[in-house]
């Protein structure tokens, strides 16, 4: 009885595990990649903003504040959303310095 039931039980468990793994692993991988892409963009944007600040002739306190915020976010190393927010702040600071130039 037990011996004949074992293959069915084991097979069911293995199939279930495989299904979950096949569904979850790519999703997790995509999330991790998404996060790294977002941080890559964010770091580039922060660097851009820093260059624009150095090139600006007049100081823009609001832009300074935004860039500091973006750098703080980057230092905290959050998720994809934090990276996008940091990139957005850096981009706005970059625009302010370029316009203020």
């Amino acid at each position: 009885m037990t011996l004949s039931v074992l293959p069915w039980l084991g097979g069911g468990v293995v199939a279930l595990a495989a299904g979950f793994a096949a569904a979850l692993l790519p999703r997790r991988r995509a999330r991790a990649e998404n996060r790294r892409v977002a941080w890559s963009s964010a770091r580039a944007a922060i660097h851009d903003a820093g260059v624009s600040r150095d090139a600006a002739r007049t100081p823009v306190p609001e832009a300074d504040r935004l860039l500091a915020r973006a750098e703080l976010l980057a230092a905290a190393r959050g998720g994809a959303d934090a990276a996008r927010e940091a990139a957005e702040h850096a981009r706005r600071a970059d625009e302010m310095w370029r316009r203020g130039r």
């Binding site: 004949s4 293959p7 069915w8 097979g11 069911g12 293995v14 199939a15 495989a18 299904g19 793994a21 096949a22 692993l25 790519p26 991988r29 995509a30 990649e33 790294r36 892409v37 890559s40 963009s41 770091r43 580039a44 660097h47 851009d48 260059v51 624009s52 150095d54 090139a55």
Partner: protein, 450 residues
């Protein structure tokens, strides 16, 4: 290709689930036990439904008690049991042992009246011998034969007496004698058998054959000789062996009272099994009640059918229709395991396939080549820039560095291309600012990469 694999993967899982469902559905368990789907149905069922109650009745308890007190052996009207008086008398050995013999086929209330006769040591209802607290019954074919063919209960009475006195039972003795039927006896039997396949002797109670049961038990036809219960103490005419000699290929069923014998092909194989199982199961009821011979014969033929369908004794089994589930059942676990294995393998391949992107294609249009070209352009432009165009150059170079690290990290090609496009836009701005159309990325890259 990818979609086809996904369809295959999910259909494998579907097949596995279907196989599991079929397996579970096939696990229904039933308490009905059937001898190879034997069609037999006749049994000797509960009291009162098969005509086993006779018209015989017994007097009141007080009257019977008075009768027993007056006489050591009381035979009520209709009693059928007989015994070897000399042996029983020797066993009683002068003790005060009183015997009450009642007819068979009494209903429950009448049997209780017989049981309530306190001064009877041994009570016999039909051929059922009992005495508090025992019931004596034969346990082999000669015992049943003596009991049901001639109403001989000597063995049971002796065993019961021994039991009441806590002595060992005397050994069984087969006192039944046989004689060769005379030619004049045999002639009407064979004539009737040749004409209609059955002979019902005078005094026998068989109005008709149980046709369906007979056809199932003996599909090739059989001869039935039905005689009433034989008088006790006289030799029985052995019709079975005589008829078997006459027609060796024909099954012959001979019935003496409630005792049924089989003679014919295969008798050595199954007559004993059929008879022993039949009388072991129904012996108690047959001894107590007065079943019509029709019902007894029907039940016996049903037992023969059961034995035939059990496939014992190398008898060919009846045809069983092809049942795909029964054939496939042993293969189902393997099928299930195969489907699960296929699903697992395809799942692994799916996960692997969606893994980190392969490095972008190398070539004139590949991201690494474009990165190299743009880096070279940045180096060339860096010689020409002034304070106005420096920031754009620095931004472009930073983008190139970001693209390079993204490429090293294996980030998706789209992202790398986006960074390179940003860098190209910055460098384009620089080239326009320094008024060098030849250094605009489109033009420069076309020149170096072509």
């Amino acid at each position: 290709m990818r979609a086809g694999r996904d369809v295959l993967r999910w259909s494998l899982l579907g097949v596995a689930v279907a196989v599991l469902a079929v397996f579970l559905a096939a696990q229904r368990q039933s308490v009905t036990v059937s001898y190879g789907r034997s069609p037999s149905s006749a049994t000797l069922s509960d009291e009162g439904s098969a005509g086993e109650l006779s018209d015989a009745t017994v007097p009141s308890v007080a009257e019977m008690t008075a009768l027993v007190a007056a006489d050591p052996v009381v035979r009520l009207p209709g009693a059928v049991a007989h015994w070897d008086e000399a042996r029983v008398r020797a066993a009683i050995d002068g003790a005060d042992t009183r015997i009450l013999v009642a007819p068979p086929g009494l209903d429950e209330a009448e049997r209780r009246r017989v049981k309530d006769v306190q001064n009877a040591t041994i009570r016999i209802v039909g051929t059922e011998v009992s005495g508090d607290p025992y019931v004596a019954a034969p346990d082999d074919l000669p015992g049943w034969r003596a009991q049901f063919a001639t109403g001989d209960v000597t063995g049971q009475v002796l065993a019961l007496l021994a039991g009441l006195r806590k002595q060992p039972s005397p050994p069984d003795r087969d006192d039944l004698r046989w004689r060769e039927p005379a030619a004049a006896e045999l002639a009407p039997v064979t004539d009737a058998l040749r004409a209609t396949g059955r002979y019902v002797g005078p005094g026998a109670t068989l109005p008709r054959l149980p046709q369906e049961a007979a056809r199932e038990a003996f599909p090739g036809g059989a001869w039935f000789v039905v005689l009433p219960a034989q008088p006790y103490g006289r030799a029985l005419p052995a019709y079975g062996p005589a008829l078997h000699r006459l027609a060796p290929e024909r099954p012959v069923v001979v019935m003496y009272g409630d005792w049924i014998e089989y003679h014919g092909p295969g008798a050595a194989d199954f007559a004993e099994v059929a008879g022993a199982s039949f009388y072991a199961q129904y012996g108690g009821r047959l001894s107590r009640y007065a079943y019509p011979q029709l019902n007894v014969l029907g039940a016996y033929l049903a037992r023969v059918t059961d034995v035939r369908y059990a496939g014992l004794f190398d008898r060919p089994l009846p045809y069983r229709p092809f049942d795909p589930l029964r054939v496939a059942l042993p293969a189902l676990p393997w099928l299930f395991a195969g489907c699960v294995a296929g699903f697992v393998v395809l799942s692994i391949r799916t996960v692997r396939g969606a893994g980190p992107g392969r490095p972008g294609e190398v070539g004139p249009a590949g991201a690494p080549a474009r990165l190299a070209g743009l880096s070279a352009l940045a180096v060339e432009l860096s010689l020409l820039t002034d304070a106005r165009s420096d920031p754009a150059l620095v931004r472009g170079v930073a983008r190139l560095r970001a693209a390079r690290s993204a490429l090293d990290d294996g980030l998706p090609d789209r992202h790398v291309r986006g960074l390179l496009a940003d860098a190209a836009a910055e460098l384009d701005q620089v080239a326009r600012d320094v008024r060098m159309p030849g250094y605009r990325p489109d033009v420069y890259l076309r020149g170096t990469l072509s």
